[in-house]
Point group: C2
């Protein structure tokens, strides 16, 4: 686990998109961040107080979290100066960058000298077991998509937030870098070795109270040929009691695969449910989450109503219109 609270490093982020990790922390776990650290040239903000490293420490920050993508995939000298200074002051550092903190000599050395921990969250830090398939206690919900990047993480976070609001027992279980940085822990599933994928998901979602819900972050899609194996491991390792189908209606083709089309929601429902029942015969499809970010409100509401009428499942855009109906459905199980 990454020590909280964080100071969010925005560096020289040129725009909001490049700071989406920091924005995710601000949106979903505001209590995890005491403020933001911006360098000269930073062109965006996530709306937290600007702090120096010293002010962050005084506000209680334990970890400096890289909340921004690095330009050109290089950790610049200007960044390094700040990161080394932070380590000298007693911060840990957490990063989901492709190039690893530990591969930078100066950063590695400073961490060693000052007894600080470097969290490269793209790399598994645990030797995960092979999945044993044994039934676990507690409830699990998994978001599965017609495509990659259709809003599975946001769907899980929205449902978790609504359950928490209702006083239900609920935990969001990240399986990707952004989710891990937002919550402070999880499994970087796409970096796990093939044989241990399902075991990593079992590890992530252990036995729990009978009325506790794990919301497992989905990855890939059963219908995305590049990543479907990761999705399958989530379905079998996760043993979900409930699936939420996720869809983004405006895609012209599968992400990154110009000759592949998204499946119908009905097709996804049937395939994902039949595979989920292998690990948990009681699994049901509980609802549908539509990512309507590229649709007008009228179009979004009409599309959602159409899906709900067609499929007979509670349907919404939980980020835009709230997750209440999805949580109602899960609560009723």
């Amino acid at each position: 686990m990454i020590q909280t609270p964080y100071l969010l490093f925005l560096g020289d982020a040129p725009d909001a998109l490049s700071a989406k990790v920091a924005q995710g922390i601000k949106d979903w776990r505001p209590d995890n961040a005491v403020g933001q650290f911006r360098m000269e040239g930073c062109g965006t903000t996530v709306g937290l107080s600007d702090m120096t490293l010293q002010e962050g420490l005084e506000a209680g920050a334990k970890t400096l979290v890289i909340g921004v993508a690095n330009r050109g995939g290089v950790i610049s000298e200007a960044w390094k100066t700040v990161l080394v200074e932070a380590l000298e002051m007693g911060y840990d550092i957490a990063s989901g960058l492709h190039n690893l903190l530990r591969d930078e000599d100066e950063i590695q050395r400073a961490a060693k000298v000052h007894g600080a921990t470097l969290h490269d969250v793209r790399i598994p830090s645990v030797a995960y077991p092979i999945a044993n398939g044994i039934k676990r206690t507690g409830k699990r919900c998994l978001a599965v998509g017609t495509d990659c990047s259709v809003g599975k993480m946001y769907t899980g976070l929205c449902i978790d937030a609504e359950m928490t609001k209702r006083g239900m027992k609920s935990t969001f279980r990240p399986t990707g870098q952004t989710g891990i940085l937002i919550t402070g822990g999880g499994v970087p599933l796409d970096a796990v070795i093939a044989d241990f994928m399902a075991g990593a998901v079992e590890y992530l979602t252990p036995d729990n109270d009978a009325d506790h819900w794990d919301h497992i972050e989905g990855q890939g899609s059963l219908y995305h040929v590049s990543y479907s194996g990761v999705t399958m491991a989530l379905i079998h390792g996760g043993q979900p009691d409930a699936l939420i189908l996720c869809h983004e209606p405006t895609r012209a083709h599968m992400r990154g695969l110009p000759t592949y089309q998204q499946p119908e929601l009905e097709t996804l429902r049937d395939t994902a449910l039949s595979m989920a029942k292998v690990a948990n015969p009681a699994c049901v499809v509980a609802g549908v989450s539509i990512n309507t970010q590229h649709m007008s409100e009228d179009d979004a509401r009409a599309y959602i109503k159409d899906v709900e009428d067609r499929m007979g499942l509670p349907t919404t855009d939980p980020f835009r219109f709230g997750a209440e109906r999805l949580v109602d459905a899960l609560e009723a199980l």
Copy 2:
């Protein structure tokens, strides 16, 4: 690729089972082996000429292949003495052992000094790409099973052998340690990082002549919750034109999962085919391979006939009764 031919190292193998890698090479690629090397205490043979390291070299051997499992997972001092001597004499060494050659200081050092290559075939040696899903030329056949270890590798090898006998263009494409050692190359799929599994299978089975068949070694099962993700990556990365369903009728439960049952062959057929059609809409199920090793000949023939009548697909135990009918079906596609 591992340099052939091999001298097969049987070490102090106590019995035939522990020497199954050497036996597989002898059975399937006899031209790849000039002889066998046995140490004191070896209790088995694969029926090749016994040779010293020197005799192996004189017979043309380029690589000493560890054809035996090591007891207790330890590379013993007695083994090391032989392996270091082989490196000094100019052999490469190839191994599928869990503990790696490269992790043994003496072996690593001798390889370096003598310019020899150590092939630890459990570990990928290539940075595989992310799958792009682009249609490739040539034909591909994938064996999928109701369970792990039901004979998928032997099915592929039998079909490849029969096609070769008929003068058809055919290549067996290994995805596991034993297959890699048998043929000299392949992808250790269960050790590949999740995001690159399907890409590794694309890499393994590139564009080929229109009338060439790749026989992709299957792994795991869509219905085995520990490894189903690996199977899914094979189905989507492999883009098979044909599936062969593999089944072992005498299992009491899924391998290693006492509370899980094998699916019906019809269930496997429907699920595997619908997933395969995502990557290749023209894919068909071409036949059924029954592993009858634990059945009498009468029982085996009756079982096979029953499956064939029920499913309307050419059905056989290709290892026991020949692969002709499966190859007939593939040839007719």
